[in-house]
Amino acid sequence: MNARSRCVAALLVALGAVPLFAGSASAHPPFCICKMADATTVRCEGGFADGTGVPGVRLDVIRYDETVALETKFGADSTVSFKRPQGEFYVLFDAGPGQSFDVDYKDIQ
């Protein structure tokens, strides 16, 4: 083995070792960002931290007394708009157990 081959082999060994020291895989938690689009309309955008969209995923608007004010779904662009309900409520993006995200009405500006 000549010097160049030794060098290339060493480099390959080092590069091969890189994944051994890489960090652990992380989860991709859901998010739901809701803002007032205008004086009466709330616009919510949902998704996961890795960039995955949520078209067709359920989003509920629930009053503090746990009655459902609105049942809807995210559109193809992972957004949904609805008329802001009166009183106290929260928005629940529900993609399954452990994958839900609730937004309180106080945080919707």
Partner: protein, 175 residues
């Protein structure tokens, strides 16, 4: 008679140092080997449940051991905000009775908002719990266990107890 061209300065340096460079490339991974074996032992549980064990927590008729997976500040998760990872082990007697464990900041509003779901074996499972923007260092974590019979049992743990490093981080963000 032919004249040999003298090598350029770069070629000359390469010729002179390439052996040393190849040796260095071999040595660097060796220097990281102890850290690698430490991480390996940590991730497969031989170093304990997590880096900092919080203790045994009673949850209704059951109990769990809870730990901070790593003693680090919450991780930035892009648009999802910040999240903190915890590890949990079910008590040996309740392994067959508990279906799922959830953890969140603040009291769950209902069964659909119980928080991050722990995944893994009953003896060591982990969850990445979201830290909402409104969270303060005085807030409380709610741990919910769901039994196979549908029963729900809950316990609370102050953030300051569960993760002092997270409490300090929250206090710093608020100041």
């Amino acid at each position: 008679m032919t004249t040999l061209a003298s090598p350029s300065r770069g070629t000359s340096l390469w010729q002179r140092w390439r052996f040393h460079l190849s040796a260095l490339v071999m040595i660097v991974p060796i220097a990281f080997t102890p850290a690698f074996f430490h991480e390996n032992a940590f991730f497969d549980g031989r170093k304990g449940l997590g880096e900092r064990e919080i203790g045994e927590i009673a949850v209704g008729p059951w109990s769990v051991r809870l730990a901070e997976f790593k003693v680090v500040e919450p991780d930035a998760e892009g648009r999802a905000g910040y999240a903190k990872e915890f590890a949990l082990a079910l008590c040996p007697a309740c392994v067959d009775q508990v279906k799922a464990a959830y953890l969140r900041v603040g009291k769950p509003r209902n069964i659909r908002t119980m928080g991050a779901l722990f995944s893994g074996t009953p003896y060591r499972q982990t969850a990445e719990m979201r830290i909402p923007d409104r969270t303060t260092a005085d807030d409380v974590l709610w741990l919910t266990l769901e039994g196979w019979d549908g029963a729900l049992h809950q316990a609370t743990i102050p953030i300051r107890t569960a993760s002092p490093v997270t409490a300090a981080w929250l206090a710093r963000r608020r100041s």
